[in-house]
């Protein structure tokens, strides 16, 4: 296991004060903090070999291309994928849109079902809706039980129809933390219809636990660099290269072509066919450094560390009067995004008072309105952890909740 105290020194921002209090960062599910190693790798790109990639014959271009392609290999190795199936995007959201426009829009039509779950982030809902306008398939949804789990009976019923051509599911909820049994679900979807594809939202799972795209049974896996110690502006699609080969391009422009005339173009091989224009070069290089950092720690260790925190957090919060933790209560079944409610207090007010205590938590619908609605809430307060968080942070969270209750409580809020 790694030593968190030592590792925290890699994150300059953790020394920061907020409103005169030390920052307690509990918003990693929104975006993670960035270690110096990542900043240095990006800096080195800009100060030593900044150039556009591919096609260049000069040394800088060659070095930049090598580093960019190295990053692709690193993503593939980290997720168990094939480098030819790794497409760099600007964020996870773009990766979903790529699959929506290039797969769903082309392959699904009237009578087909695109199955999502009620637990999905908007990134795994809205792109399907946008292309549905053109392609006319049906969208169905797996409900979430009171414990924050997928309702597998309904899932089986819908999948049993044989009409499901695309199943889009998150590996880990960004609101209630639920880890879904993706491998099992994927297996059932594929068994019911061998043309069906499974799109897995790894935005929360890839940063927080070991990932193997084959074991998951994912045809497409989407994730974001900025949630796994990397810079903003980089996401990734990890796909089966054979699928990419059969898909028409999504974004058009330089780099993704083989030949262009004014009227017509032929396209590059995969994955380049899907990377139009100057790619996110510095960002991919930063992401590779982030993956190196995670690999050095070991993803098993990251997960183990977080499981301890989650367990401690749930214990601590459920011990506070008036506090409810949403979703699975068992740390082994969930990730480190912990949404909770404080009776009689609105998340937005909680967030503001917490902020004054130096605590960065998130209040809102977390881009997952259908799920939040299913909790009977309009918003939740969410504390989310990562490898740099400590039991002290949980103690600070508890103090923050007490302070919030006191702030409103002394004034006798109903």
């Amino acid at each position: 296991m790694f030593d968190v105290t030592t590792l925290r020194k890699d994150f300059p921002i953790l020394d920061r004060q907020v409103h005169g209090r030390p920052l307690v960062y509990l918003d990693s599910a929104a975006t993670s903090q960035t270690p110096q190693q990542v900043l240095d790798a990006v800096d080195r790109f800009y100060t030593h070999y900044c150039a556009n990639v591919h096609r260049g014959v000069h040394a800088l271009a060659e070095e930049a291309t090598a580093a960019y392609e190295h990053a692709r290999g690193r993503v593939a190795a980290f997720t168990g994928g094939d480098p030819r199936g790794v497409v760099f995007t600007k964020n996870a959201t773009e990766a979903f849109n790529l699959v929506a426009y290039s797969w769903a829009m082309e392959r699904l039509g009237p009578g087909d079902v695109l199955l999502v779950t009620q637990m999905e982030h908007h990134a795994n809902l809205v792109p399907w809706q946008l292309v549905q306008r053109h392609a006319g398939f049906d969208i169905a949804s797996v409900p979430v039980t009171d414990e924050g789990l997928l309702d597998l009976d309904v899932f089986d019923e819908i999948v049993g129809s044989g009409r499901v051509k695309l199943f889009a599911v998150t590996a880990m909820s960004n609101v209630v933390g639920t880890i879904n049994p993706v491998a099992e679900l994927a297996q059932r979807v594929h068994a019911a219809n061998d043309e069906a594809v499974v799109v897995v939202d790894g935005a929360q799972s890839v940063p927080h636990m070991p990932t193997d795209v084959h074991a998951l049974g994912a045809d497409f896996l989407c994730a974001s660099g900025h949630k796994m110690l990397g810079p903003t502006g980089v996401g990734m699609l990890i796909a089966r290269p054979e699928l990419l080969e059969r898909m028409p391009p999504f974004l058009g422009g330089g780099e993704m072509i083989a030949d262009v005339t004014v009227q017509r173009s032929t396209f590059n091989e995969v994955p380049y066919k899907f990377e139009a224009g100057t790619p996110v070069i510095g960002e991919a290089i930063g992401l590779a450094a982030a993956i190196e950092y995670l690999d050095d720690l070991g993803m098993d260790n990251v997960r183990a560390h977080e499981e301890q925190l989650i367990s401690a957090c749930i214990d601590a919060l459920t011990g506070i009067d008036g506090v409810t933790v949403h979703g699975p209560q068992d740390a082994a079944r969930r990730g480190a995004a912990v949404s909770f409610a404080i009776e009689g207090l609105h998340p937005h007010d909680i967030g503001t008072i917490m902020d004054r205590e130096g605590l960065a938590v998130r209040a809102g619908h977390h881009c997952a309105k259908p799920l939040v609605r299913s909790l009977g809430a309009v918003a939740t307060t969410r504390a989310s952890f990562y490898l740099y968080n400590t039991p002290d942070d949980i103690a600070a969270l508890v103090r923050g909740i007490d302070a919030t209750k006191e702030f409103f409580g002394v004034r006798n809020v109903r």
């Binding site: 937005h348 939040v372 309009v378 409103f408 809020v413």
Partner: protein, 159 residues
């Protein structure tokens, strides 16, 4: 600085809402506003005395939301009851200016609304404080358009 936001007057309105009701007898217009950021939901009802100068005869709000949005709606109802529509709109404009940190001409007319001046320092909460006032403006124009209700989804905040 938290005290600038959660002024005692604000907490008082939150605790003891004024003109909070799910119905309003003989109301002429009902608007529903919803702000996805906070998850705020606000219903505002006006009864208008439609004389030569149409005047707000009675006003009621109801809803679910954070302390700032609910308290601001409460304070708003007190400030606008009995005012003619144009005057109420002007007052809403004053409140909006205050939220953007601009000087306010009608401090006194805002009544308890003035307690929200500190919210201007909390950009992400400005929309909360504005919710009731925006519903008011919308209710007035809905009434003027001859409609009796409207629904508005407030979009994401811009700083």
């Amino acid at each position: 600085m938290t005290e600038d936001l959660y002024h005692d007057i604000i907490l008082d309105h939150y605790r003891t809402p004024r003109n909070r009701a799910a119905e309003l007898d003989g109301s002429h217009v009902h608007v529903h506003h919803n702000n996805p950021l906070c998850g705020d939901e606000l219903d505002l009802r006006l009864r208008v005395d439609n004389g030569s100068i149409p005047t707000i005869d009675a006003v009621a709000y109801d809803g679910e939301g954070c302390s700032i949005s609910m308290a601001s709606a409460s304070a708003m109802t007190e400030a606008v009851a009995g005012r003619d529509l144009a005057d109420a709109e002007d007052l809403a404009q004053n409140f909006r200016a205050m939220m953007h940190g601009e000087p306010v001409e009608r401090e006194d007319d805002l009544l308890d609304g003035i307690a929200f001046s500190g919210v201007a320092k909390f950009p992400v909460r400005v929309k909360c404080a504005l919710l009731g006032w925006m519903a008011l403006r919308d209710a007035i124009s809905t009434f003027r358009d001859g409609q009796d209700s409207s629904r508005v989804v407030h979009e994401e905040p811009t700083l």
